[in-house]
Every structure is written in C-alpha cells, then in structure tokens.
Amino acid sequence: MNDVLILAEVKEGSLDLRTLELFGAGKRLAGNSGGFSVVLLGDVVSGAADEAASYGPDTVYKVEHPLLKGFQPDLWLAALEQACREIEPKVLLMSHAFVGRELGPRLACRLNTRLTTDCIDLSMDPEDGRLLRTKPVSGGNAISVFKCPGEPQMATVRAKVFSPHEPGTGSGATVEIQPKIDESMIRAESLEVVKEDVVALDKADVVVAGGAGLGEEDGFELLEELAEALRKPFGNVMIGCSRVAVDKGWISSDHQVGLTGTMISPDIYVAVGISGAIQHLVGMVHSKKIVAINTDPACNMFKVSDYGVVEDYEEIVPALVEKLKEVS
C-alpha cells in the first residue's frame, strides 16, 4: 500500500533541497498511520537512492535506464507513467520547478487524474480522505483550496513553504522498476543544450530592480551604477526586473522577479519604476526592507514598501549614486 509518492530530483549528485521539502510535506500528509515513498529516475540513481533511504521512507523506487540520463521529457514521462501504474500511489507530489511543471500536467492527463500546481499547503480532508490542495490564484490575489477527483491525487509544491525533512532511520526497502522505453518514444528531439551565465538572484543581499517605468533599456545602465555604488557597503548586490522589462527585451529573464521568475527575500529590495503587478509582488514581498522609486504615488509598490520616493528615477538615482560614493 502506498499512500504518498514523491518524485525526487537530484542536483549535483545529491538530493535537491526541494525534494527534502517534499519529504517534509509527504510525511506530514501521511500522518501517523502511513508513510511516504520515493521514486527516482535517471541513468544511475543508486547514490541518491541510498541518500533518500536515510530519510526513512517506506520504499525507494529506482527507475534506472541509460536513456533517462538528462531530462528528456518524453522518456521521463513514459517511465514515470509506467512507475505510477505499478506503484499505484494515492497521492503523488512533485516540486513546482522545471521538471514538475512540465511532467505534472502531461502525466495527470495520461493517468486520467487531476493535478493542482504550485501548492502552498496540502492536507487530507478527514471526511473523505481526499487531498485538499491550497494554491494562490489570480497571481496571489486570492488563496483557493481545490479538491479534485481521480487517483493518484497530484500536486506540484512551491519551493520553501515546507521545512526540509530531517534524516531519520533508514529501514525502507529499495525496489527496482525496469522502464520499457526506447528512442522511438522521443517526439521532441534535443539538438543542443546551451549553458548561459545566469544570475542567482536568490543569493543576493540587495536587489536593485527595474520595470516598465524605466522607459528604455538604457535605464538598466543607471541601475547598474546604483548597484555598483551599493556593492561597497553591502557586498552581494544584483540587478532584478519585472516581467514587462523582459517582454520588452531590455534584460534577460534570469533577472525576472515574481511568480514565473525567481522568488526572493533579500535584505533590501529597491524597486525602480515597477508599479507592482501582483505576480511581481509575490516574488519580493518578503524582502526585509523594501524601497520604491516611482513617479506614480498611487502605484501598488508603495503599498508594500517601507520607504518611498515619488520622483523620476533619472533624477533620484544619479543623486543617490553620488551620495553613496561620498559616504562609503
């Protein structure tokens, strides 16, 4: 009997922190009566399987195949579908990240069940044992609880809302599942993977972010000057942006803060010319201090800020850079 199954992901040789958070969610969901199990896909997953076993799951399912090296969605989907049909979990959880966002909906369709994405809470309805899936909707303007038919009951879980599970005593079984996959199942073929230098916004102490209010691409040069001036007193200062700035082609998407970008909580967030669409606010509202610079005193950003300057950024930012140089 398998209550809660978790799709574990491996990063740089060990279990992803998001996976440990899922273990925490899974353990809580299963309660005292039941346990959680783990499924791992890849070409070689033995190391990760041993690591997963140390967290005390009932079972660790190893789905190993040479073709599962790297994330080829069509093959991962086929292998995971086969594993689910064999394991028959009541609940299946994945991280709301790159792999889960793509596999989740497609797998739910193949298993003829329903998925709720980006959940921030999960619980069991004591009346009927159905999964209650709590998810922010309307970009975060409302919180909705969904209850859906079908099994497995599927959810992708937002990062950092559950505490990572602590290692326990590993006594669970390891079961190997041999996926029946071959190259003919690849429908979308990967030609090349191109790595790019991306900013790790979630590691920044201070983020200086720009939006549509900058008016033009060159506005980010001014923000970079401000970031540079802040680096002396603060160290790790990075440039962020709103979705609109990416849409306009002013800056690459690794700088994007918000629901479909990075969710961050730096010591200081400086929002320049960002009016504050809710999908942006949910990505930065937990910053320790928020400073807004905007010409529109009625905009959303001031409502979530600690300090505000109602002024054209082209006036205030250069003045700010000068003053910072004087004091540091």
Binding site: N141, R187, V194, E196, G249
Partner: protein, 263 residues
C-alpha cells in the same frame, strides 16, 4: 507550398496587472472579483506574437481560439489587428470555471472542428488561475509532440525549431509538425497596435464565429469544474510606507541614511 496553419489559444481574463484595491474575494460564492478591464492573458499575447513572427518569415494562416463562459470579441479582435487571420470564440455557459483537463478537452474538440493544422501555440500559463496545464494537456490529448517554455520559435522544412528556456540557459529542440509549443515571455511582447487600427478592427463589420459546446460536439457530462472548496483573501502584504520629501538631492541624502542604517 501551402500556407502553414497555426492555431493560437488565447484566454480573456481581467487585467492581472490591476491595482490591488481592484481585487476582492467573494468567499461565499467562491469568486475572485476583479474590477478591471478584460484583457488577453499576457503569455497568450506572447504566443500570438510568436505566431505573427512565423507568419512574417513564411506563408502562414493564424487562427485564434478563445474559450470561456462569456467571451468578448471586442477584447479579442485585438488579435486580428495584430496579424491573426481568423478569430473563433468558444463560448458556452458550460465552459465557465472548467478544470484544466476539461478546458483542454473542449479546445481539442474545437481544433478537430477547424481541421488540418501544423502548429498550436499557447501561453505557458494563464494570468488568472496560474495553473500552467491547459497547453500541455492539449498536446497530450491530441497526441502530438509537445515543447514547453519556448523563448524562440521557427518553422523549417516541416519541423518546428524551438529554443526552450532552461533554468541555466536554453535547449534547442526540434519536433516534426504537427506539434504544440507553450510560449514563455522571453519571446517578447505583442507588437504595438495603433489605436486607429484597433478601433477599425473593433468597429469592423467582420462577423466573428462563436461555437457552443454542441457546435464542437462536447457533452456536458464530459466537462468537470475546477473543484474549488474554499476561497480566501491572501494575508495582508501591506507595509506603512514612509515617503521621503524634498528635492532629489535631499531625498537621495535621506535614502542613503536609510541604506546605511540597514547595513
């Protein structure tokens, strides 16, 4: 060569960029009430932009499909002004608040009614429920190759070539047509449409077909609602904002004091 047939799925939603004060939650009736103008969901606009660029590069015919309980052709005629050749509304009370799977099933029925197609483009997720499922499920239901999160799309020799966004770069992916591609905002915003052009399209005599559930041959029993069991307002995110007064120099000085106090 015959024209490439592209279908873009575009959803009409209340403006997701609306001020916070325009949004309220009716917990009793399980409704999010947004007192803002209706717009096309932003990622769907990105999808349309991608389609129009393909059309500029080669001969293509773009159909826009929009599903909902009530759909306004005034909002969606913008797609025609932007370069779409055809707009089809999928409108039925039964389409209200469908779950992702049922939405995809209804769209599939409409795609089948349209007939032959080469490429389907959808936004990566809608700006109201932020589920991010309909496009991918539609691809599964149609049993065609599916590529998620495109930042660039081109069609060459019967294949779609996509730059798919990765967390640390991108992947070049190729699939034979027909295929479905979900589009991310890196593609770029929908081109500017002049007010004159927009008004001309809205006031135009052109009639927009509207298909009901029966027209596309979907049974009401096959459609499921989202299954909302409760709805609430999010925790208050508001803070007391201290506005810094004075000339830009004085404001800058005060702000530097703030920064230094946070060091």
């Amino acid at each position: 060569m015959t024209a490439l047939k592209i279908i873009v799925c575009a959803k009409q939603i209340p403006d997701p960029e609306a001020p916070l004060s325009d949004v309220s939650v009716d917990a009793e009736n399980l409704e999010v009430i947004v007192d803002a103008p209706q717009v096309i969901s932003p990622f769907d606009e990105n999808a349309l932009e991608a389609a129009v660029r393909i059309k500029e590069a080669s001969d293509a015919h773009i159909s826009v499909l929009s599903l909902g309980g009530k759909v306004s052709d005034t909002v969606l005629r913008k797609t025609l002004a932007a370069g779409a050749d055809e707009l089809i509304l999928l409108e039925d009370d039964a389409f209200e608040k469908l779950d992702s799977h049922s939405t995809a099933a209804a769209l599939m029925a409409a795609v089948r009614k349209i007939g032959a197609y080469d490429l389907i483009l959808t936004g990566r997720q809608a700006g109201d429920w932020d589920s991010g499922q309909v496009g991918l499920i539609l691809g599964e239901l149609l049993d065609i190759p599916c590529i998620h999160l495109a930042r660039e799309i081109a069609v060459e020799d019967g294949s779609v070539m996509v730059k798919k966004s990765l967390p640390d770069g991108y992947e070049r992916v190729k699939a034979p047509l027909p295929a479905l591609v979900t589009v991310s905002n890196e593609v770029g915003e929908l081109r500017y449409i002049s007010r004159t052009k927009m008004l001309k399209m809205i006031r135009g005599a052109r009639s927009i077909p509207s298909w009901s559930m029966g027209d596309v041959g979907v049974e009401e029993d096959a459609l499921q609602k989202m299954g909302i069991s409760s709805l609430s307002s999010p925790p208050d995110m508001g803070r007391d904002c201290r506005l810094l007064e004075g000339s830009p120099e004085e404001q800058a000085e005060k702000l530097v004091e703030v920064f230094m106090s946070l060091r």
